[in-house]
Amino acid sequence: METSIQTGEEDRILRTWTPLILRTILILSSVILVVGVAQTIVKAPGFYVQRFRAIQQGHLHAGESLATLAAGIRHGDSHAITTIGLYVLTLVPLVRVAFTFILFLKERDFVYVTATAYVLAGLIAGMMLGRIG
């Protein structure tokens, strides 16, 4: 009985907060992406065409560090703004899983603490694996 009360409360919190997390990050990233794309149209149309043609040839200019991107944003660089928008978008799964991990930890539901910790570790391992190449 205790378990079902705990399950019901966990589910209620998850169903209330998860949509809020998803929607907030999605809206935030969409706004940043729209600003970045709009600024590209206004400020750097020629640069965009040049970069697009290079991508078609298989030449990527990605892989900037967060420090470089932050400096780019300070200077109003549209490419840096757009890239940060993409980074924010990829926070959706990370934040959502981190939230469930904290919730289950708080409720001492250790089967699900282990499951969410594994997923979180997988997401972080993916980033590290990408960095290695």
């Binding site: 794309v37 997988g122 997401l123 980033m127 190449g133």
Partner: protein
């Protein structure tokens, strides 16, 4: 510049719209669209698609989670399998040659076409098996008269095994692999049809997110392509989900299958001629 950007946006909106109507997701349509029509290299198209899949999954999941259709516990347990597969697949995408990736993509499209043709009705179980009972995976769905009806879940191991494959497909090919996820939950784990669709949609965000993080960290996401694609596919998927209740999806299914088979043949032929 406006021609390129307008073209990418139109392509992405169309892919998101058809993806939402067919229930297969935008990734299945945007990757071949970018490769065949926009002449974007396969791995760049896969990276852009993964980002867009994260966005559409988040957008579509909001209502499903709030209304109780998503089985969050099933999703959390199965995500262990999909994330493992997705990270492996995304890593493999960096070492497999583009023609082989395109050939695999063509095969995946044929599997999606088969899935769209063969998906059948509900078989709701009253009782979960021992493992699923211990993990409290069962749930409730509203009946035709609005009363809540409990359902059971079985065969978690079989479902998880298929989820690893779905994860590899997602990370490798830039799709949500919803067709495999729903098949695993429908056929093997016996979840109700709408619950498996909603749960698959929810899980797709984490699966694609795992792949997207590998691509992003590796520097394989081209912001100039990924940004308009993410915005376009999300807008198209939103429009598609609004139109969905007012169209006869059964009648459109044949059209979707024909489109899938034609694109699969085109991509398969392109790949075969370069291997």
């Amino acid at each position: 510049m406006l021609t390129i950007l307008g073209g990418l946006l139109a392509l992405s909106i169309g892919a998101g719209f058809i993806g939402a109507l067919s229930g297969l997701g935008g990734g299945v349509f945007i990757v071949p669209g970018l490769v065949v029509l926009a002449h974007i290299p396969m791995h760049v198209a896969v990276g852009a698609s993964l980002i867009s899949v994260v966005a559409t999954s988040a957008g579509a999941s909001v209502a499903f989670v709030r209304d109780g259709w998503t089985n969050l516990r099933v999703a959390i347990i199965l995500e262990c399998a999909t994330v493992t597969g997705a990270v492996t697949g995304a890593y493999m995408a960096g070492v497999i040659s583009p023609p082989v990736l395109e050939l695999l993509f063509a095969l995946m499209m044929l599997q999606s076409a088969w899935f769209a043709m063969t998906r059948h009705g509900d078989e709701i179980l009253a009782q979960s098996d021992e493992l699923c009972e211990r993990l409290r995976l069962g749930g409730q769905v509203p009946d035709d008269d609005g009363t809540m009806r409990p359902y059971g879940v079985v065969n978690l191991r079989g479902g998880a095994a298929l989820m690893v494959i779905a994860g590899v497909m997602s990370g490798l090919l830039g799709v949500g692999a919803g067709a495999v996820k729903v098949a695993a939950m429908d056929y093997l784990m016996k979840l109700p049809l709408k619950v498996s669709s909603a749960t698959s949609n929810f899980m797709i965000g984490v699966t694609a997110g795992a792949g997207a993080l590998v691509f992003l960290a590796r520097g394989d996401i081209a912001a100039s392509v990924a940004a308009p694609v993410a915005l376009g596919v999300t807008a198209g998927a939103l429009a598609g989900s609004r139109v969905l209740p007012h169209v006869n999806v059964g009648a459109l299914r044949i059209l979707f299958v024909i489109i899938l088979v034609l694109i699969a043949l085109e991509m398969g032929w392109r790949a075969y001629s370069r291997i």
